[in-house]
């Protein structure tokens, strides 16, 4: 999604090669061998997204009331709520994580007294009231330009007024109780399970004159037709050639700057397609992105923005019982928590917020990004 006609012009110039040589259409590598100050005028750096997951910043102070219960505990709670006595609950749960409780807890929603699938209809069970994050440490950006009581302070950038209500809603789930760059387990699995087959996400930084400080660069976020390859550590293999999807709906072009080796964008809107089996369609509004360029050519950063919360919910709900019992995530609890903490995009009819502020951790590896027109151009550029 292009944010403005000016961005569209920038993009067209880049992609169509208007006024540029063919060489500019292929990303220079992330610079594994080059010091960060070694950019040449108008240099391009390409990256492939290695990891993309909820940016969690767990410290005990964030969850002073403790963490939310795991599934063996909340299933028993739900069974008791449904009227089973302790003996029956123990019997149903005796073979956990397998056993007789599964159909019962799956159908624990009630509509007119009749059981319904609670994952498809989360509103049919009462709000289990997940414990939210009460501390102030959280990744992201001040998206609304205000400093409110609900806002966080980013532990890396130090930015105040950080809007990240998704983390506030879910950050005390045991599965999320990690501090980036440590990976929260289920979000890690969501990304890891899909990235061998899903088109890779690409990031390109253009118009770089100085990798340390540059007040005018262009950032392109896009999608490839290729998937990542893994290295021997299971990460995305660095320096692979990845072809840009000519029909990508994920393309975003935004202006930005580099300060002390960290790329920061202006505000943008972006649509990012991932594997719909496990991840939502990301439709960020009011988004910002920062990316620290590392000496080894890799990059790390945070993408933050307002995201419709219902697709977020469905990315958990479609895993249903498996997500609940293995990841310990109370799925209807997620529904209620996201709904409660949503902080943007009010529905004109109901006044309920349809979007929630979020922050996502991004790890990226250097990549060679090739545009369709140039797909067969060989030997035009390299790290040499």
């Amino acid at each position: 999604m292009l944010t403005s006609s000016a961005d569209a012009a920038v993009f067209n110039k880049i992609v169509k090669g208007v006024g540029t040589s063919t060489l500019t259409l292929v990303s220079v590598l992330g610079g594994a061998c080059l010091p960060l100050s070694a950019a040449s005028a108008g240099e391009i750096r390409g990256f492939v997204v290695d990891w993309f997951h909820v940016a969690t910043a767990y410290v005990e102070a964030n969850c002073p009331d403790g963490l939310n219960p795991l599934s063996d505990e909340f299933y028993k709670r739900e069974l008791r709520r449904l009227g089973y006595d302790n003996t029956e609950v123990e019997e149903l749960m005796k073979d956990f994580p397998n056993g007789g409780y599964i159909p019962v807890t799956t159908m624990r929603g009630r509509v007119n007294g009749e059981p319904v699938n609670v994952y498809a209809n989360p509103w049919t069970q009462p709000d289990p009231e997940l414990k939210p994050v009460k501390g102030s440490r959280g990744f992201g950006f001040n998206l609304d330009g205000k400093n409110g009581t609900e806002d966080f302070v980013d532990p890396v950038s130090g930015e105040t007024g950080v809007d990240n209500q998704m983390y506030r809603a879910l950050g005390c789930i045991q599965n999320f109780a990690f501090h980036a760059p440590d990976l929260p387990i289920y979000p890690f699995a969501q990304w890891d399970l899909t990235r061998d087959t899903a088109p890779a996400w690409l990031i390109e930084i253009r118009d770089i004159d100085d990798l340390q400080n540059d007040d005018d660069v262009t950032i392109i976020i896009d999608k490839s037709v290729d998937t990542i390859e893994r290295d021997t550590n299971g990460d995305a293999l660095a320096d692979m050639t990845l072809r840009v999807d000519p029909n990508s709906r994920s393309r975003t072009v935004v202006k930005g700057s580099i300060e002390n080796g960290v790329v920061s964008t202006t505000t943008f809107e972006s649509s990012l397609e991932a594997d719909p089996m496990l991840l939502p369609l990301f439709e960020f509004k009011g988004a910002r992105f920062r990316l620290a360029l590392n000496e080894d050519g890799s990059a790390q950063g945070i993408l933050g923005g307002y995201q419709p919360w219902e697709p977020l919910y469905w990315s958990y709900a479609q895993g249903a019982w498996i997500v609940e019992h293995s990841a310990g995530i109370d799925i209807p609890g997620v529904y209620y928590a996201l709904k409660k903490h949503a902080d943007a995009d009010p529905d004109p009819q109901t006044g309920e917020n349809k979007s929630i502020s979020t922050a996502w951790w991004v790890d990226a590896q250097p990549a060679i990004i090739v545009y369709p027109e140039n797909a067969k151009t060989a030997g035009v550029v390299g790290a040499q």
Partner: protein
């Protein structure tokens, strides 16, 4: 023997070059460096007009009668290729092969000095049974067996005989004798009677043929030479095998066996016709590929590993791709394009996969498989020395080794022998890549080479290997090591270069490069090191012929394969062995004394 010095000053790299006549194309840079007695006149003669005249080959031919006949175990690649040729490429081989030993730089020579161990025989048996079961199985029998038994539950001698004689000729690389065929047919009959199934009986007999020494070993048979009373010669089928494994790395096909049967291979015209046919065949690519895979010691890829923590890009697929990159480059350049052998060390054309593109950090867009690629003129990547196959194969798992790389270049490509290090060397300085006082391997080696026992050999190897320091342990390009700029300058036998591209050019022009190839090719074909007089013939006549043909490898193969020397057999093994030993021992480089 004339000891020659390449380069001035302290260089003292002696190499046996009796009567060597270097090719006329690159005399300039080397002429002024040939300083030892007699060398200048030799070099001048090399630069003179004229050259090898095939009609006068007799005057250049080896004065002795060649080496002994050789019995060589099929290499793993040959076994696989033969089976694929006879039974089709879809037949799968189970089991493991015994490692092929390397001798005088070649597995092809080592294959003549091995037997089969008990466990090796068990593996051959497993593989043979697997092949035989597939060939006679329901899925393939209609295509493989040219007849049907009158009753599938009982023996059919005629059908068994027809099949076994047909495949036996290809498996044994000659027609079976009556006794052999009778025994195999009887074997099939006995098994059929016990198992109650004709095809099972055939399977047992076929499996027996596939573990027979006549199959597993290339036995060269001699016979009295009617043209040279008192002399022996290879029989026609042995000649056919020698030719076929030399040019195609597989067993003779039907036409070649027929030519042997007709006696054509004993005739100059008949031999030339068959060699011409084989050189023109697409199978030549297989043969050239097999030779270079052997010469470049690519069998070592099977045990190549890298530190995954430091080099996460490198896995077994990358290793296979690296090997394949170089072989594709070689075969395409030498066979498809008919290129000059020396240009392999300067060419920027190659083939890459996406994985290799990541290794070299260049764009490769073909999602699966290979695409041709040409490194840019300003790239420091040129020639096969800069391929991952060379720099990775001759490095340690976690760090580069200019010493190993330099040693490999001298031994593999120039046929020089670098002495092994003494057993009590202290490698601490070299191995400590984190020492802030020695950030680059050049600095570490300089410090290490202050050890008197080390300096001599390191002067032979390191200046060459250091030229490749822009390529890390897995072949990735780098300009710095531990933050320090890498200096890739050096010299090879007195000729300076500034980087890997320059080194490639120096290797391209080095007289030892082509003479080494000529000797290796001959050794590969005959399965032994050349005798002294063969070496003289190779270093003079054949190398000159190679030069006149523009260093085209197919022409070199053709020249050797049609020569009398290629098939000549010594009357006594002792005579030949002593002669060969003398040549082998003369290839050692002498470590330079510390100045």
């Amino acid at each position: 023997m004339i000891a020659r010095k390449f380069g001035g000053g302290n260089e003292l790299l002696t190499a046996r070059t009796d009567n060597r006549i270097y090719g006329p194309r690159n005399c300039g840079p080397w002429l002024g460096r040939a300083v030892a007695v007699g060398a200048i006149s030799i070099a001048l003669s090399a630069c003179a007009p004229g050259g090898a005249d095939p009609q006068n080959e007799a005057s250049f031919a080896p004065v002795d009668a060649g080496g002994p006949p050789v019995m060589r175990r099929l290499t793993e690649e040959q076994y696989k290729q033969v089976v694929a040729d006879i039974f089709g490429p879809t037949v799968e081989l189970g089991g493991r092969f015994e490692p092929d030993p390397r001798e005088s730089g070649l597995l092809a020579v080592g294959a003549g000095q091995v037997s089969v161990t008990t466990s090796g025989l068990q593996q051959y048996d497993i593989i043979a049974r697997s092949i035989a079961a597939q060939v006679t199985g329901e899925e393939r029998r209609a295509a493989m067996i040219p007849c049907k038994p009158t009753n599938a539950q009982s023996a059919d001698e005629a059908c068994a005989r027809q099949f076994l004689s047909l495949v036996g000729r290809l498996i044994y690389r000659r027609p079976l004798t009556e006794e052999e065929l009778d025994a195999r047919v009887q074997n099939a009959k006995n098994a059929t009677e016990k198992l109650g199934d004709f095809y099972s009986g055939l399977e047992m007999s076929l499996a027996g043929m596939l573990v027979a020494p006549q199959f597993l070993f290339r036995q060269e048979i001699t016979e009295p030479d009617p043209n040279n009373p008192g002399q022996q010669r290879l029989d026609a089928y042995s000649k056919a095998s020698r030719l076929s494994f030399f040019l195609w790395n597989t067993a003779p096909d039907d036409q070649l066996l027929t030519a042997a049967e007709n006696g054509d291979l004993h005739k100059r015209d008949g031999l030339a016709k068959q060699v011409g046919r084989m050189i023109a065949s697409p199978k030549l690519k297989t043969g050239v590929r097999a030779f270079f895979e052997d010469m470049l010691e690519f069998d070592k890829f099977s045990e190549l590993s890298k530190d995954a923590e430091i080099f996460p890009k490198f896995n077994f697929i990358a290793a296979e791709d690296a090997k394949e990159q170089t072989l594709r480059t070689i075969v395409n350049h030498l066979v498809s394009d008919g290129g000059d052998y020396r240009d392999l060390f300067t060419t920027r054309k190659t083939y890459l996969t996406r994985l290799l593109g990541a290794l070299y950090r260049v764009p490769v867009t073909t999602p699966e498989g290979w695409e041709s690629y040409e490194f840019s003129e300003d790239s420091r990547q040129a020639g096969i020395l800069t391929h991952a196959s060379f720099v990775a194969l001759h490095s340690h798992p976690g760090r580069t080794s200019p010493t190993l790389r330099g040693k490999a270049l001298r031994e593999v490509l120039l046929c020089q022998k670098v002495p092994d290090p003494p057993g009590n060397v202290d490698f601490n300085i070299v191995q400590d890549t984190a020492n802030p006082d020695f950030k680059t391997v050049r600095q570490r080696l300089d410090a290490h080479a202050t050890e008197p026992m080390c300096v001599g050999c390191h002067k032979i190897t390191d200046p060459i290997g250091l030229a490749l320091e822009n390529f890390d342990t897995i072949g990735g390009f780098r300009m710095t090591e531990n933050g320090a700029q890498i200096d890739t300058s050096g010299q090879l036998d007195g000729v300076d270069f500034s980087d890997a591209v320059g080194l490639g050019q120096v290797v391209h022009d080095h007289p030892g490069l082509t003479s080494c190839l000529v000797n290796r090719v001959f050794s590969y074909g005959v399965g032994r090191t050349p005798t002294q007089s063969e070496k003289k013939w190779l270093d003079s006549y054949i190398e000159q012929s190679f030069a006149e043909k523009g260093y085209r490898v197919p022409q070199l193969l053709q020249r050797i394969a049609t020569s009398e020397a290629f098939f000549q057999i010594a009357n006594t093994e002792v005579e030949a062995a002593v002669d060969g030993l003398a040549v082998a021992s003369s290839e050692f480089l002498q470590p330079e004394k510390k100045q």
